[in-house]
């Protein structure tokens, strides 16, 4: 048993729902008790879908156990076919029905429906949401992909991976379509998002595949490579460098020259990063956590394109631990691979970052620790489905990332200024801002107690050293404090004095 306060991923059948809901003409019959219908609201509330997901739940009850749950399942499949007339169906069990061993595959086969009915085996006690999405997509592609076309235009590809409830998938897709269009590469099929089962039958007409999210589409793309001779591109077009590498990779497969597209203006990120007001971003300590694709990409953009220092990199996706470990090693740190929220919290507290790039859960951790944070990865929250176009991928995505990473720090800067001026007569804690009349401020709400830090031994500051630290300019004070404490800890100094402060400064400025 695993104690879980928060989960990063849902169970694998949620991944199957993300695929089914993304597609048209596909229906999913899920053998599950009534509570499992909560999953509808992920799509209708978080993503604001205007239709129920194409899912029929059997919603069996205790009184049905042992007698006729299998019959309930068969009836549900037959009724769903009659009502929705889908081109294809997927059938499977959620965690509880898995224990009943009713055999959805055999039961649905026995119905002899005139459409493909694809059974899913999604072990709910071993696997999780992204694996479920990947497995579902793979099974669909295997069952429906048809034969490879005999002649294929070289500059024609499929885009694989975007799903419902994917982090910015909707907007990424628009960017990537635009890039491919600029290069002169035709898009044959996008799947799962917006595809029908019949569209999957046309996958073999493209020369190659573009995998946007390996978490969802790598397995299917590998199978298509083996069986259909379609190579695939898995370069993540996140950040200017990532997008450039992506353009070069797809152009090479399509036999086209990427130079004209690369010569265009592209993103504002490089200039914004080089402009002088960005100098204060240099070496900011950043902690990155998320799914593998977004975490690795964010780490690269943060370090190589914005000039931050990476102090932590991790993922909850064990299936992609290798990629994340490799990237972390590149930055001389060790990757954190865990889906234990408490372990992530401890790691962030210990790393003392100045910025956290994570999921909605790291946003909470960061808020508690008083660290600025930006969200870069699922699990999805209603805020992660903005009304505006807000991609992560492509050149516009790079613009979005610059703003996303830097704005929380600007807020941080503002807070530093507030702290710096807080003792001014018109600007102290007891007074409301002058533009609001400057009247005495009402009692503020209770302050959330900071989480226990996990830093090894506490270091003690002498009063003089603490006073001296306050003379250090505010924008480097956090770093000075951190470095001094590290210096003291490494030398097991019982007390930080003014001497220690300057010894540490000399030590780290080498």
């Amino acid at each position: 048993m695993q104690l879980t306060l928060w989960t990063y991923e849902g169970p694998p059948h949620i991944g199957a729902m993300r695929v089914a809901t993304a597609m048209h003409g596909l229906h999913y019959v899920l053998h599950a008790p009534q509570g499992d219908t909560y999953a509808d609201l992920l799509f209708t509330m978080i993503e604001r879908h205007g239709a129920r997901p194409p899912v029929t739940y059997t919603t069996f009850q205790a009184r049905d156990l042992g007698s006729d749950t299998a019959e309930i399942f068969k009836q549900a499949v037959a009724a769903a076919y009659d009502r929705f007339r889908p081109q294809a169906m997927i059938v499977g069990a959620s965690c509880t029905a898995e224990l009943l061993q009713d055999d959805p595959a055999g039961l649905s086969r026995a119905l002899g429906l005139p459409i493909p009915v694809i059974p899913l085996e999604l072990p709910a006690y071993q696997k999780k949401e992204n694996w479920g999405a990947s497995e579902t997509f793979y099974r669909l592609v295997r069952a429906l992909a048809g034969r490879p076309a005999e002649t294929r235009a070289k500059a024609c590809c499929n885009i694989l991976g975007p799903t419902s409830l994917g982090f910015r998938h909707r907007d990424d897709l628009r960017e990537v379509r635009g890039l491919l269009g600029d290069l002169g590469i035709a898009v044959n099929v996008v799947a799962p998002l917006g595809a029908t089962p019949a569209d999957l039958g046309r996958l073999g007409e493209a020369a190659f595949n573009v995998v946007l999210y390996p978490e969802v589409a790598r397995t299917a793309a590998q199978w298509l490579e083996r069986s259909h001779g379609q190579p695939f591109v898995e370069t993540t077009p996140i950040g200017v460098k990532g997008t450039t590498a992506f353009i070069e990779a797809v152009a090479a497969l399509a036999g086209l020259d990427p130079a004209p597209v690369l010569a265009r203006e592209g993103s504002r990120l490089p200039w914004y990063s080089r402009s002088v007001d960005s100098t204060y971003l240099t070496g900011k300590r950043v902690f990155v956590f998320g799914d593998a694709t977004h975490a690795v990409a964010a780490a690269r953009v943060a370090t190589r394109e914005i000039g931050f220092s990476l102090v932590g990199l991790g993922t909850y996706a064990r299936e992609f631990a290798r990629e994340v470990r490799a990237e972390a090693a590149h930055h001389g740190i060790e990757a954190l691979v865990t889906d234990d929220y408490l372990a992530v919290e401890a790691a962030i507290a210990a790393a003392q970052p100045e910025l956290v790039l994570g999921t909605q859960m790291e946003r909470h951790i960061a808020k508690r620790l008083g660290i600025p944070c930006a969200v870069i990865s699922a699990p999805m929250h209603v805020q992660d489905v903005p009304a505006r176009h807000s991609p992560q991928m492509g050149f516009e995505g790079a613009n979005v990332l610059f703003d996303t990473f830097v704005h929380p720090l600007m807020m941080g800067l503002e807070e530093h200024l507030l702290a710096m001026f807080r003792d001014d007569p018109e600007f102290h804690d007891g007074v409301a801002p002058s533009h609001l009349g400057g009247r005495p401020r009402e009692e503020a709400g209770t302050v959330v107690a900071p989480a226990p830090t996990t830093a090894a031994t506490p270091v003690v500051w002498s009063i003089e050293a603490e006073r001296e630290l306050k003379k250090v300019p505010f924008f480097v004070r956090g770093k000075a404090r951190h470095n001094t404490e590290r210096f003291a800890r490494e030398r097991a100094l019982p007390l930080i004095t003014v001497e220690t402060l300057y010894d540490a400064k000399a030590h780290f400025s080498r």
């Binding site: 048993m1 695993q2 104690l3 879980t4 306060l5 928060w6 989960t7 991923e9 849902g10 169970p11 059948h13 949620i14 008790p33 009534q34 509570g35 499992d36 219908t37 909560y38 999953a39 509808d40 609201l41 992920l42 209708t44 509330m45 604001r48 879908h49 205007g50 239709a51 129920r52 029929t56 739940y57 059997t58 919603t59 069996f60 009850q61 205790a62 009184r63 156990l65 549900a76 009724a79 009502r83 959620s94 965690c95 509880t96 224990l99 009943l100 072990p123 709910a124 006690y125 071993q126 999780k128 909605q360 859960m361 909470h364 808020k367 508690r368 929250h381 209603v382 959330v448």
Partner: protein, 424 residues
């Protein structure tokens, strides 16, 4: 389980037309109750023993990402637990130890059963007794089932409160026990009204803290504040308490009848009731009047969800003048709801149970002015241009009593007012 199989109650001779429907349901399971119960019992922790789905449900259903460190968690059953490689009880002990070390402020721990824990027949009652033994007196450990194969949505609260009953001290004193989680502010209002009526010994279940345990015995009268407390009422009756039949305290009329029923049971005169409730009734009438124009003649459709549907329908129909197209409810406790059912207009279509797609067909055909439904259905119906009120808000918002009658009406008028603004 509930009394759903019972035949039509003879107490309702020519009231609503009740029919039963079976099929796909679109409702939460009883685990959802944790979201409001953990706010109510402030030093209790709810540990679901279940699957990743259970953890995901609680996290998603309530949008609970707003709470920094919640007082609920899931012990996720893994492959090795199922394969017998790990002793489930030892595993549970380990998880509970880790949890309590981290949260020394917890005084009451609920082990909450789920669909998978029920199917594999994990005996949480035994686990609770064992753990209670090791952590007493600092922490009491109780268990109940919130599983979706046994409980629907608000039945989770019923199961939780029923689990508290054996733990209540025994007393022969005359007392009134108000049963069902209410917002603290509502409890305080009711406490003042009962005191003014002259009912001295009034307690609430659940208490606000674990140590707050109301005594119960043969001279305890129970007044249900929520319509979904089948098992809790039975457990209290088994301990000798007597239930006071009453409509539920929703709306001004419901509140008055509810208070009057309690007063009658304690031999308090109707004149006293009228005098004590006069100010509250007047305020509620004023508040409701502001909303009535928006609801009178409006056609309302209830999908089954919270089991509050029958008293809400009674309120909308009698106090706000709405027309009831269909009142769906997951389960109908005909005895507890007899007074509310009797107040529904003759011929009201009450549907117990659900067959989702058929019910959606009926709703689309009727094109109601307002549809009360679960969160999963609200946006799809809105996209079909049907105004909706999602019912989980009726559990999170204080809606009982005189002072909240206007707020209750406001929950129903807001979607209509919002549409009017956007279309204007």
């Amino acid at each position: 389980m509930t009394a759903l199989a019972s035949p039509l109650s003879p107490a309702v001779p020519c009231g609503p037309e009740i029919r039963h429907e079976r099929g796909q349901r679109a409702v939460f399971c009883g685990l959802t109750g944790i979201v409001w119960l953990h706010r109510k019992i402030q030093d209790a922790f709810f540990l679901v023993v279940g699957s990743r789905t259970c953890a995901h449900l609680i996290q998603s259903a309530a949008g609970v990402m707003i709470f920094a460190e919640p007082r609920f968690a899931t012990a996720i059953i893994e492959e090795r637990d199922l394969a017998g490689l790990a002793d489930a009880h030892e595993e549970l002990d380990r998880v509970v130890r880790r949890l309590l070390e981290r949260r020394p402020d917890i005084k009451l721990l609920f082990l909450v059963g789920s669909c998978p824990s029920e199917v594999i027949k994990l005996d949480l009652g035994r686990a609770a007794a064992r753990l209670s033994g090791s952590f007493a007196p600092d922490v009491r450990v109780l268990s109940y089932s919130g599983s979706g194969i046994e409980t629907t949505f608000t039945q989770g609260e019923d199961a939780c409160l029923a689990a508290l009953v054996p733990d209540l001290p025994r007393s022969h004193d005359e007392s009134l026990l108000v049963v069902g989680a209410l917002a603290d502010v509502v409890e305080d209002q009711f406490s003042r009204l009962f005191a003014d009526l002259g009912i001295a010994n009034v307690r609430f279940l659940p208490g606000r803290r674990a140590a707050d345990r109301a005594p119960v015995g043969p001279n305890t009268r129970i007044l249900l504040a929520q319509p979904f407390l089948t098992d809790t009422a039975r457990a209290l009756e088994d301990r000798g308490a007597t239930r006071i039949p009453a409509p539920f305290p929703l709306g001004a009329e419901g509140t008055t009848l509810w208070l009057a029923a309690a007063a009658r049971a304690f031999g308090i005169s109707p004149a006293r009731v009228a005098a004590v409730t006069e100010a509250g009734r007047a305020r509620a009438d004023r508040a409701l009047a502001a909303h009535r124009a928006a609801l009178v003649g409006r056609r309302v459709f209830f999908f089954p969800d919270s089991q509050l549907e029958v008293p809400l329908a009674r309120f909308l129909s009698r106090e706000m003048g709405a027309d009831l197209i269909e009142v769906g409810t997951p389960y109908l406790h005909r005895t507890h709801l007899a007074e509310d059912l009797a107040l529904l207009p003759d011929g009201t279509a009450v549907t117990e149970g659900q067959s989702l797609d058929d019910q959606l067909d009926r709703c689309r055909a009727a094109r109601p002015d307002l549809t009360i439904c679960g969160l999963g259905l609200a946006n799809p119906l809105e996209a079909e241009d049907l105004a909706t009120k999602w019912s989980i808000e009726l559990l999170f918002t204080p809606i009982q009593g005189y002072e909240q009658a206007g707020d209750l009406a406001g929950l129903f008028t807001r979607p209509l007012a919002r549409r009017a603004r956007l279309e204007g």
